[in-house]
């Protein structure tokens, strides 16, 4: 896994908020994947306040990784942690759908 950006400033503020692990699957540096990454970062910053880690997987370089998370659509975000696994496909331009898809609302509003 290639860690592109990691933000983990200090200790977590509250107990029930472990580090989120998100994986973004892309194929090369396309416009769509760039948009998806920036959208994802934006959402995470707004709701998770640095309690997250995003891993970007380029399937052109590591095609064998597509099988594991059942990737078909590009781009795809997979929430590996916390369980259960959740998936959002698309460039994440629809914010509400991203929040629902990643189940962020609940955690975000304590």
């Amino acid at each position: 896994m290639k860690a592109k950006k990691t933000k983990k400033p200090g200790a977590a503020l509250r107990r029930p908020s472990p580090i989120w692990q998100l994986r973004l699957y892309v194929t090369g540096q396309t416009q769509r994947s760039q948009t998806a990454l920036s959208n994802l970062k934006e959402v995470c910053e707004a709701h998770l306040e640095a309690r997250y880690r995003i891993t970007v997987v380029d399937l052109l370089k590591q095609p064998q990784l597509a099988k594991g998370d059942q990737i078909l659509a590009i781009p795809t975000v997979v929430r590996k942690l916390p369980r259960p696994m959740r998936t959002v496909i698309g460039n994440l331009s629809n914010l509400d759908r991203v929040l629902v898809g990643l189940d962020l609302q609940r955690t975000a509003k304590p």
Partner: protein, 586 residues
């Protein structure tokens, strides 16, 4: 199955083909699927799409050295492996040896949210990776349409599928895409719009409670193909499509003759029995002894040291053995020695095609010289008339190709219609024997005749067919002024004739005695006359002797008196004269 390539245009002038290795399919398509192009296989649930696709891959990997990728959208690798194992394919082993890659694609819609636009590049990446990892030449996508229910945006999906098929063509892989049959169109989601090079439709129909699978090549761009619907079946060794139309009529023909086990029947067939490799139909109403004739036939084959295979669709092997034992035919030693094999199955157990496949397999495994099918009619009831005729054609063809002599019994109901109802099948047969009941005088008697026997002189006579403790006996039926007589009528007629002969004999004997008596009487008369005559002759002789003696004495006395009177000697003359007189009297 005989696989002689049918006459299709030479491959040089037509599309390059990719052989599937599936029995019969290559014949219909004239050499296989279009190489380097996608083929759509569509059909309803349970008609064998996945198996056909899997067999295409497995045969490619094992027989043609073409590795393949199976992208499964419905079944996991484990499930697929288990499913195709029933066809005798070792999918797991092929995957281990890197001949086949199985990629299970699964999308759970409930776990997925869509936000913004996307494409299916991930699918391309996965497929491309799988193809490149083993250098695959064949690709199966089973069933791509699942994506329509897992991905919310159909417009994206459609454009991506269009791209996918173009991409597959560019890759140069021969692809098989399976799809569900839709209403009013070939596939539920109109995939035929994208895959337009070759479309094969599979169908699973139930006719009279018996299901039969059919295959049809709807479309094959740039190539001739069989357009008919062909029955196919899924057996232990994969799919076999059974094209009747591809069967040729060019068997090796033997002029060797084999005995039937009934000497009198052999005599009716020019004295030497049937030709080896011929097909014989034995028609009869119920209870006319068809099974017994068949058992005799098998028995005779085993006695010659040949192998006989007995397909029985009504009786169990033990029942047949017991029943024919009652007429003094012992089959179990042959079974024990491995010369005779029974295969019993209920006709309704499975469809016609399955029966045919089972029979083919049995025949291929046992390699018999003689095959008996008892009765073929109950088997034919499991399909429609044309299906059954097709099946019998294929069976006969298969047997003839292997120089196997076959005897089919056919059960018919009484009446004259029986010959008509059999006409469809009988034209396929080389010889046709008919067993029939004759009713009359309060009894039923079996008669037997040879209706046809191609290529040999045969008797045109109706014979009476007797089954006794010692086996089968065929006797001449009495044919006279009052028609054909059988059974007790024949015996009675025989007795009448015997009585008439006896009367004649007695009359002749009486006449003979009379003549004899006359003869003795005459002889007696003759002998009486003769003795009378002899008595007279004796008397005459006695008298003559007396005369002779007295003459001599007279002469002697005269000579003596002459001497006394000194007379000259003249006595000899006198004696001679007297002697001449005596001779006359004699």
């Amino acid at each position: 199955m005989k696989t002689k390539s049918p006459k299709f245009p030479s491959p040089a002038t037509s599309l390059p083909k990719c052989r599937t290795g599936i029995q019969g399919l290559d014949e219909i398509t004239g050499g296989g699927l279009p190489r380097g192009r996608p083929t759509l296989v569509c059909g309803g649930a349970g008609c064998g799409k996945t198996l056909l696709a899997a067999e295409f891959l497995v045969r490619g990997a094992t027989q043609f050295g073409e590795p393949g990728v199976l992208m499964a959208f419905e079944e996991t690798e484990k499930e697929l492996t288990a499913n195709v194992a029933s066809l005798g394919f070792d999918l797991a082993g092929l995957v281990r040896r890197k001949k086949i890659v199985v990629d299970y694609v699964h999308i759970e819609r409930s776990e997925m949210q869509e936000s913004g636009d996307y494409d299916l590049e991930g699918l391309f990446v996965r497929l491309g990776h799988a193809i490149d990892s083993i250098g695959a030449k064949r690709v199966v996508l089973d069933t791509l349409e699942v994506l329509f229910s897992s991905l919310p945006n159909e417009a994206v999906l459609r454009s991506e599928l269009r791209r996918l098929f173009r991409w597959l063509k560019e890759k140069g892989v021969t692809a098989v895409i399976t799809a569900e049959r839709g209403i009013g169109q070939l596939t539920r989601h109109g995939l035929e719009e994208y895959v337009s090079d070759c479309v094969i439709v599979l169908d699973h129909r139930v006719n009279d409670q018996i299901a039969t699978r059919h295959l049809r090549v709807v479309k094959y761009r740039g190539a001739l193909h069989g357009t008919n619907e062909f029955p196919f079946l899924i057996g232990d060794e994969g799919i076999s499509v059974l094209p009747i139309t591809s069967l040729g009529l060019n068997h090796h023909i033997s002029s060797e003759r084999i005995a039937t086990g009934i000497p009198r029947l052999d005599a009716m067939l020019g004295g030497r029995g049937f030709f080896r490799g011929s097909s014989i139909l034995l028609t009869g109403t119920p209870g006319t002894g068809k099974t017994i004739v068949s058992a005799n036939f098998a028995h005779a084959a085993c006695k010659r040291g040949e192998r006989a295979l007995f397909f029985s669709f009504e009786e169990s092997p033990n029942q047949i053995i017991r029943n024919v034992h009652s007429i003094g035919l012992r089959l179990e030693p042959w079974v024990k020695r491995g010369l005779l094999r029974f295969h019993s199955a209920r006709p309704s157990l499975y469809g016609l095609e399955m029966h045919l496949a089972t029979m083919f397999r049995e025949i291929a495994a046992f390699k018999p010289d003689v095959v008996v099918v008892d009765p073929i009619t109950s088997l034919m009831d499991s399909g429609t008339a044309s299906e059954s005729k097709g099946m019998v054609t294929r069976l006969i063809d298969y047997l003839k190709a292997g120089q196997v002599t076959s005897l089919f019994t056919s059960l018919t109901q009484g009446g004259h219609a029986l010959q008509q109802s059999e006409s469809a099948m009988s034209s396929l047969m080389d010889a046709w024997l008919l067993l029939q009941d004759f009713e009359g005088n309060g009894e039923r008697n079996r008669v037997f005749y040879v209706l046809k026997a191609r290529g040999m002189a045969h008797s045109n006579q109706i014979r009476e067919f007797l089954i006794s403790n010692h086996g089968i006996d065929i006797v001449d039926a009495y044919i006279g002024a009052s028609g054909v007589l059988t059974g007790s009528a024949r015996v009675a007629q025989g007795d009448l004739e015997k009585a008439a002969v006896l009367v004649n004999q007695q009359e002749a004997a009486r006449l003979k005695r009379e003549v004899e008596r006359k003869r003795t009487a005459i002889e007696r008369q003759i002998s009486g006359l003769r003795s009378e005559y002899e008595a007279e002759a004796e008397e005459l002789r006695r008298i003559a002797e007396q005369v002779g003696t007295s003459t001599l004495m007279l002469t002697t006395e005269r000579a003596a008196s002459g001497r006394l009177r000194q007379a000259d000697v003249k006595a000899p003359d006198i004696t001679r004269n007297r002697a001449g007189r005596i001779g006359r009297a004699n």
